[in-house]
């Protein structure tokens, strides 16, 4: 893709905005449309675009597989851990009401943290799936050469 100058420049311009929009959808999700799943997909789309334009090797250098794998696991842990935290504070599993000084704030905080966990896992899994498929095609090409 080295000769596609326009694509490279535009991609470089767009990627920060895609990431920012992902964060907006993530953290504005409790006031407007959005939430962890959508945000995770948008966030991952930025990395997919980067990999498409600058190549898989470069994308893998930015986020090594090890971190992607950690991201998938951490997101689930954040979600489940929020539930456990509520349990430790004396309420039922996933009852966020006890997480803050009064129930509405507690519920707000709980959803906020849980959605962050969802976003992290979804983004990591999306990137992992893309890398797996893209990397596989690459290997087949090499074998054929």
């Amino acid at each position: 893709m080295s000769h596609h100058l326009v694509v490279r420049v535009i991609a470089k311009l767009l990627i920060p905005f895609i990431l920012l929009f992902g964060l907006y959808v993530q953290f504005h999700g409790d006031f407007g449309p959005g939430g962890g799943f959508q945000a995770g997909v948008i966030f991952a789309a930025a990395f997919v675009l980067y990999a498409l334009v600058y190549g898989l090797e470069n994308a893998r250098r930015i986020i090594p597989d090890k971190y992607i794998r950690m991201g998938t696991a951490l997101g689930v842990l954040i979600f489940a851990g929020t539930g456990v935290a509520a349990m430790l504070l004396g309420a039922n599993y996933l009852d966020y009401s006890v997480l803050a000084h009064d129930p509405p704030h507690g519920q707000h905080l709980g959803i906020f943290v849980v959605e962050f966990g969802v976003g992290l896992t979804v983004a990591s899994v999306m990137v992992a799936i893309f890398f797996a498929f893209a990397g596989r095609g690459h290997k087949i090409d090499e074998m054929e050469d």
Partner: protein, 492 residues
């Protein structure tokens, strides 16, 4: 305080440990965590069963939202019993797993294997414990997706196609179940099973409810591998890693049968299921066909794992046969076979895992002379085989005895002929194993020596359980009877 949270902990403990296994990376650490967690889950299931038998139904509000709006975990004698089966098998199989997984799954993927195992356990326990119809679907998918991964980790490349085939079948089954739940939600406006059961009764005549019943019955029959919807099962069991085969054979289809029972008896009620929809004869014909055809096909298998897989199809027939009588005695027989079949097939597949560990094959050719080369393993296979046939003093006999009693009690004594025929067929396929192992000479340079003790001990625990519960039936029959009475509304 912990006691009040046991229902949530039953699910949360394995669920949280699954991602932790990913983070631990090292096989040894992941195994240690999975081992501890599975035994903790087993301890929780024992405590829950004790609580239910002492003080009746337990209800746990997830997130503090009251049912029928929120998700409720609801534990009665029926699912406490199934929870115990699943958790016990999960704990025994994971104890056995380490050497077998290291050999069959290969380094680098072991931590991920234990993650999938824990997720699968979470899913199966979740399906069983929850009192919410949609939640059943969610947990069903957690257990199914992780079992597709587990099956595809088999050494044989055909494991991939077997897993893909199971994925297609499993997805169709789960989707049918979901369509059924959707229709019921549309008709009743609730997803809580207890609430649904109350609201379904007055609108039994409605087409929506009848369509929902049909979708759920067919979808769950696919998941439970009820003949003739069993096509995914033989290859999935034959090519999966040994540990996975033992775990899934002893738990996954049992949990699907449990959901079937829940659907027929709790959601729709046995009047509707068996009188309005005339489920009895349908199930009975399919069950007898499964018993006879499954056993017959398994006689002609050379791969012993496939042989036992077809035998599982037949055994599922026995469980469904029990349900089809729609009497306390029949349902007791079906529920009892749920437990007993988990013991026999768990033990048998674990013993086959030992064979594979030493010889690298489970073909009947490779088993020639094995009785002299691996005496303990082969003795376990023979003992498990005896239980499969239904020899007195084994659990297989107890199950068949209760099914016979149920058949005679319902005035259908001729059913006993089919039970006897299926048992005779079982003698043939078990005899093939005995003949190969004891009466044929070992091939030249055949590998000899027993499997490691850590693999033999769990195998023998399950095999001996076959005999223990074949003699002392107070626990198994007692709980199964309580469960059947609860389902049919005869007891407390």
């Amino acid at each position: 305080m912990i006691a009040a949270h046991l229902p949530a902990l039953q699910i949360v403990v394995p669920l949280v440990s699954a991602p932790l296994c990913v983070l631990l990376v090292k096989a040894r650490l992941a195994y240690a965590l999975a081992l501890v967690v599975c035994w903790v889950a087993f301890a929780i299931s024992v405590l829950l069963l004790g609580q239910v038998l002492d003080s009746g139904v337990i209800s746990y509000r997830l997130g503090g939202w009251a049912p029928p709006w929120g998700i409720e975990y609801r534990i009665d004698p029926v699912n406490a019993y199934v929870l115990l089966i699943v958790a016990a098998i999960g704990a025994l199989v994971i104890t056995y797993a380490k050497p077998s997984v290291a050999r069959e799954v290969g380094s680098g993927r072991e931590a991920l294997f234990y993650t999938s195992y824990l997720l699968c356990l979470t899913g199966l326990l979740g399906v069983t414990i929850t009192g919410d119809a949609f939640n059943i679907f969610v947990f069903l998918e957690i257990s199914s997706l992780s079992s597709y991964v587990l099956i595809s980790l088999g050494q044989d490349r055909r494991a991939l196609t077997a897993s893909f085939r199971y994925l297609i079948f499993g997805t169709i089954g789960a989707t049918f179940f979901l369509i059924g739940v959707g229709l019921l939600y549309q008709a009743t406006g609730t997803l809580n099973i207890a609430d649904m059961a109350n609201r379904v009764a007055p609108i039994e005549g409605s087409r929506t409810v009848q369509a929902a019943f049909a979708f759920m019955a067919v979808g769950l029959a696919v998941k439970a591998a009820l003949f003739p919807l069993h096509a995914w099962l033989p290859n999935a069991y034959a090519y999966a890693p040994s540990v996975v085969t033992a775990f899934l054979a002893a738990t996954a289809t049992k949990v699907s049968i449990y959901v079937l029972i829940r659907t027929y008896f709790t959601i729709f009620g046995h009047d509707f299921s068996f009188e309005v929809m005339t489920l009895g004869p349908v199930l009975m014909v399919l069950a007898i066909a499964a018993m006879l055809i499954g056993s017959t096909i398994s006689i002609f298998q050379d791969d012993v794992k496939r042989l036992l897989a077809y035998s599982s199809v037949a055994q599922i027939g026995y469980m469904v046969l029990g349900l089809s009588f729609d009497t306390v005695l029949g349902v007791t027989g079906g529920m009892l076979h749920l437990f007993n079949h988990a013991l026999m097939k768990g033990g048998l597949f674990l013993a086959l895992g030992c064979v594979f560990y030493r010889t690298g094959s489970v073909n009947i050719e490779a088993m020639k002379g094995l009785g002299h080369r691996m005496p303990w393993t082969m003795a376990a296979i023979v003992a498990g085989g005896l239980s499969l046939i239904g020899v007195p003093l084994t659990v297989g006999f107890i199950s068949k005895w209760y099914l016979l009693l149920a058949a005679i009690d319902s005035g259908m004594w001729w059913i006993s002929i089919f039970i006897l025929m299926a048992s005779l067929l079982a003698i043939i396929y078990v005899w093939r194993l005995v003949e190969a192992a004891y009466l044929s000479p070992s091939p030249e340079n055949a590998p000899a020596g027993e499997a490691p003790l850590i693999m033999l001990i769990p195998t023998w625990v399950l095999v001996l359980a076959n005999f223990y519960f074949g003699v002392d039936t107070r626990v198994s029959v007692g709980v199964a009877t309580r469960a059947a009475e609860f389902l049919l509304g005869a007891g407390s």
